[in-house]
Every structure is written in C-alpha cells, then in structure tokens.
C-alpha cells in the first residue's frame, strides 16, 4: 500500500482554490422605486459559488473521443518484477489512528474534531464570516468592477388563506462597460433585498459580447426568449444606442456605444433582457468565422 506516512511535511496545500471573499453590494440607484420600506434589515450575504478550475487536468483523450472509431487496447509492458498491489479489501487492517493521521497529514484536521498530529482542531473557524457582533453591519464596497442597473421592480402577490402575501421582484442588469453583461432576477419581501439577490443571480450568468473597435456589433442578429423577440443591428459611430427599455439597459451596461435594437414580440422587460442576451450570444466575430471556415476575411465581406 503506497500511501506511506513518510516525512511529515507540513502541507499547506489549501491554497489552490480559495473561495471568493464574501460579496457585498452598494445600494444601487433604482430607476423606478416602486415602494421603499422604511426599515433596513441586515441581510445575510451569500457567497458566490466557488467554481472549480480544471485547467490543469489534461482530459485531452476524452474530449475529442469519437465513439465510433475502433479503440485498440495495447497496454505498455509491465515493468520487471511487477507484483500487483493488494486490493483495498485485502491489505492489512489499519487502526483508526493511522487512518486519522494519514488524512490529517494530507488535509489538516479540517472538520474531524480530533487532531492526532497535534494541529489545532479549530483551524476552520477562521473561514467562517463572523455574523457580526453588534448592530447591523452594512458593508458598502462595490466589488469586482461590475455596475448594476435595475430594470424593473414589481410588486407580486401570492394569495393564501390568510390574505395576500406581497413580495418584490427585481430585474437587474450587471455589467462592466467592457463587453460583459448578465441579467438576473430576485425576489424578496423588501426592495433592497430583492435587488441584492438579483445582482447575485446576475453575476452568475455573465456573457461576453463580441464587439468591434467602434464599439458596435459585428453583424445583425435576432434572439428570442419566451414570447419576446429582439432584433439587434450594428450602427455607425456617433449613433448612440437606439433601443427601448430593457434592451437599452443591457446594451449600455455592456459598453456598446452604437447599436439599433427593436423589441418585436412581447414587451415583457425580463424576457426582453434575456432575449438580447440570447441574440448577442449568437453573434460571432469575423475573425473567428474566417478561421473556422478556413477562408480569408475578405471573402466574408463580399
């Protein structure tokens, strides 16, 4: 069994992926405040999901696997004196202490509650955000370069036996002005909470827009989501963004300066925002198409 408890090297291997620091939001300026409540509650902020990065695991064999091709199994020759290692069931039984020691060497004591190698058992406490001691803590820093704009705040109702339960639903568009946008929805009992939730949601679905150097689209495109259809068209520099409501906000937050857009189907703000995102995702840069098709770019402009 190969996992030897050899030289107990203090492993600080916990630094590969560090979870994102807790997000906090600036109270955004709402364009259409429907109903602002008087009391501000301190809200529990949620971490963005820590994304695993697989960039250095080489799955090349499996990525371009053609299922139909004939696969040949030719293992390399066994090295001399090769004895098959014992199965995990047959090997010598390890005592709990040995197991705990081996795990602790690899991962630190983590959440096990016991520490065989003498490390501090409460090492994971520093990772917990202290839900703050006194009063309400409002962290007011705007983070990671994204600006938020509220598209629509609506009061929605759920009818129950006792009466009507009111919630607020906020649609927020988040973007840096450099080609990244995201649309998010969130519902809560108060407007600010809803806006924050929707901003978190928006940051999870961010999309990159292909833009030319004159800050406009490479070509026309149409996109639909639900019953909303949106048509986008590039424009010459100096035109500005000529589009209505939700479409205009999405394009502005993306950093597009010159474009024409029209809502062709339903006028629902959320669906139109999502439809613009769909339309924009369908666009390709000229350079990419030329590369994929293997033809020079001049051919595409004819």
């Amino acid at each position: 069994m190969a996992a030897t408890t050899a030289a107990a090297a203090a492993l600080s291997s916990l630094s590969f992926l560090s979870p994102n620091p807790p997000i906090s939001f600036l109270f955004p300026k709402s364009t259409k405040p429907f109903f602002l409540s008087g009391s501000f509650r301190s809200l529990s902020l949620s971490l963005a999901p820590p994304r695993a990065k697989a960039s250095d695991i080489d799955t090349a064999f499996f990525d371009d696997l053609d299922p139909e091709e004939e696969v040949v199994f030719d293992p390399p020759t066994p090295p001399e004196g090769f004895t098959p290692p014992p199965a995990f069931d047959d090997g010598p039984d390890e005592t709990e202490d040995e197991i705990a020691a081996a795990y602790e060497e690899l991962y630190g004591p983590a959440y096990s509650g016991v520490s065989v190698l003498g490390n501090d058992v409460f090492v994971m406490d520093s990772k917990v955000k202290k839900t703050s001691a006194f009063g309400k803590v409002k962290k007011e820093k705007v983070r990671d370069g994204f600006e938020e704009r509220v598209v629509q705040v609506r009061r929605v109702t759920k009818v129950v036996k006792g009466g009507k339960q009111l919630h607020f639903r906020a649609v927020v568009v988040v973007g840096d002005k450099q080609g990244q946008v995201g649309v998010g929805v969130g519902k809560a009992k108060e407007v600010i909470g809803a806006v924050q939730k929707s901003a978190v949601n928006a940051r999870r679905n961010i999309v990159t827009i292909p833009m030319t150097k004159y800050l406009t689209f490479p070509h026309r495109s149409e996109g639909d989501y639900g019953a909303a259809t949106v048509m986008l068209r590039p424009a010459a520099p100096g035109t500005g963004v000529i589009a209505g409501g939700a479409v205009r906000i999405v394009l502005e937050m993306a950093g597009v300066e010159n474009a024409l857009g029209k809502q062709l189907g339903s006028k629902n703000a959320l669906n139109n925002a999502r439809a613009t995102v769909v339309a924009v995702q369908k666009m390709k840069q000229f350079r990419e198409v030329a590369q994929e098709r293997g033809i020079p770019m001049e051919e595409l402009w004819k």
């Binding site: 916990l14 979870p19 695993a52 499996f62 293992p75 602790e104 690899l106 991962y107 959440y111």
Partner: protein, 236 residues
C-alpha cells in the same frame, strides 16, 4: 500524460463480470458504440474499450494525484456502500456512501455550516461535555451526531470543493452528477448500458450492479491515486 502499466487484463474483468449490461429493453441508444453484443436479453459491453478508458482514467488520476488534487468518491447503492468507503479510506480520499444530500457541492457554504456543527459536536463528545447535560438534551445531541456521522462522515476532511469526482452509478447519483456539471468539476463515471455517456467528462462503460465489478474498477482507480500521491512525496 505518460501511459503507465495498470495491470488491467481482460480475463480478470471477464471473471468479475464487468462486461454484463442491463436488460435489452432498458438501454440508452447513446451507448450503442460501447455495446458489442446482445446475449440472452442482456447487452454485453465491449471490454477493449472499457480497458482502454480505464487505463486512460488511471493515467489521469495519477497525474492529478501527483499535482495534489482532491478527490471525492460517490456511491450510494447498498451493495457498493461498503466497498466505496473502504476504497476511499485506502486512497485517502473523501467519499459519500450514504444518501447524497442535495446541494452538497452547489450549496457548499451551508454544507460547511453543517460540518462546523459536526466538528463541534465531536469535540464536545470527546471532552465529555455531553454527559453533563440532562438526559434528554444529551440524547438529542447524540442523535444529531450519529446522523451527521452517517451523511457527512466521509467528507469531514474536505476543506474546499473537490477537483475530481468519481461516481459509481450514474442513474443513482444523477443529482451528484448534475451538481458537478453546473460547477464545472470533471467527473469520472461508471456507465452501464442504461446511462448517458455524454454527461460525465470521463465515462467508463462497466457493470454497476455486480459488487465484484465495482470493486475491481475502484481498485484500479485507487491504486492510481495512491501511486500518484507517493510520486508526489518522492519528488514534490
């Protein structure tokens, strides 16, 4: 990625019954390239493909282990639960062998809260704090502790999301697979003839019903992980 020798031979796999699939009526047509024959109403998987994929998967695990990645083995079938636990303990990986709680990975902050509670309860138990409480409270806390031990016992050393997840049966662990896909974690999955090979990143067509076949494949993967770790220890 250098190819190494993993002692995979087809006779061993035939003995363990890795080539048996599920009944013909329950198949997933996407598995057609991996099925070689149909015998007595059961599909037979193509063992050369299995062997090749298994060896490539082992190479990948070896590389990942030598780069100090964290693994998670998920297997909740009653038959496989015990072998999953033992295999993971042998390989020093995290494991889930009782029910996979929804949101274990996607709702990681909440899982962390539960792990904190687990650790606190354990320290209380070790220092004897539970005996000082009235009987009813102590009984409640002990029940909570045993519950946390069954569900979270295998991941109590997990400090962050795992880098590779090994899933034993795709149909059983569909939620786990879905979570890994949304988070972008590469997965290795044992695929049977009624599963979808395109969902997991690395799929090994094998029999997920027979204990012998699960043990065999887990054995190879575990050996790969151990070798990778020891190669790291030799030359970090």
């Amino acid at each position: 990625m250098a190819r190494r020798y993993w002692n995979i031979n087809l006779e061993e796999m035939l003995e363990a019954g890795v080539h048996f699939g599920h009944g013909t009526r329950k198949w997933n047509p996407r598995m057609a390239p991996y099925i070689s024959a149909k015998r007595k109403g059961i599909h037979i998987t193509n063992l050369t493909r299995t062997a090749r994929f298994l060896s490539e998967a082992c190479d990948l695990l070896f590389d990942a282990a030598s780069k100090r990645k964290q693994f998670l083995i998920v297997g909740t079938k009653n038959k496989a639960a015990d072998s999953v636990a033992r295999a993971a303990i042998r390989a020093r990986c995290h494991y889930v062998n009782k029910k996979w709680l929804g949101g274990m990975l996607t709702n990681w902050p909440t899982t962390e809260t539960r792990l904190h509670k687990f650790r606190d309860l354990r320290t209380e138990q070790n220092t004897g704090g539970l005996n000082r409480l009235p009987k009813r409270d102590a009984a409640m806390l002990k029940r909570q502790l045993s519950r946390l031990q069954t569900y979270l016992g295998g991941i109590k050393y997990m400090t962050r999301l795992p880098d590779i997840v090994i899933i034993v049966d795709q149909q059983e662990e569909y939620t786990a697979l879905r979570e890994c896909i949304t988070l972008g974690i590469p997965t290795i999955c044992l695929i049977d003839t009624n599963c979808d090979p395109d969902l997991a990143d690395i799929s090994i067509p094998a029999n997920d019903d027979a204990i012998a076949s699960i043990r065999l494949i887990l054995n190879k993967l575990v050996v790969a992980i151990c070798e990778g770790r020891s190669s790291y220890i030799r030359n970090p």
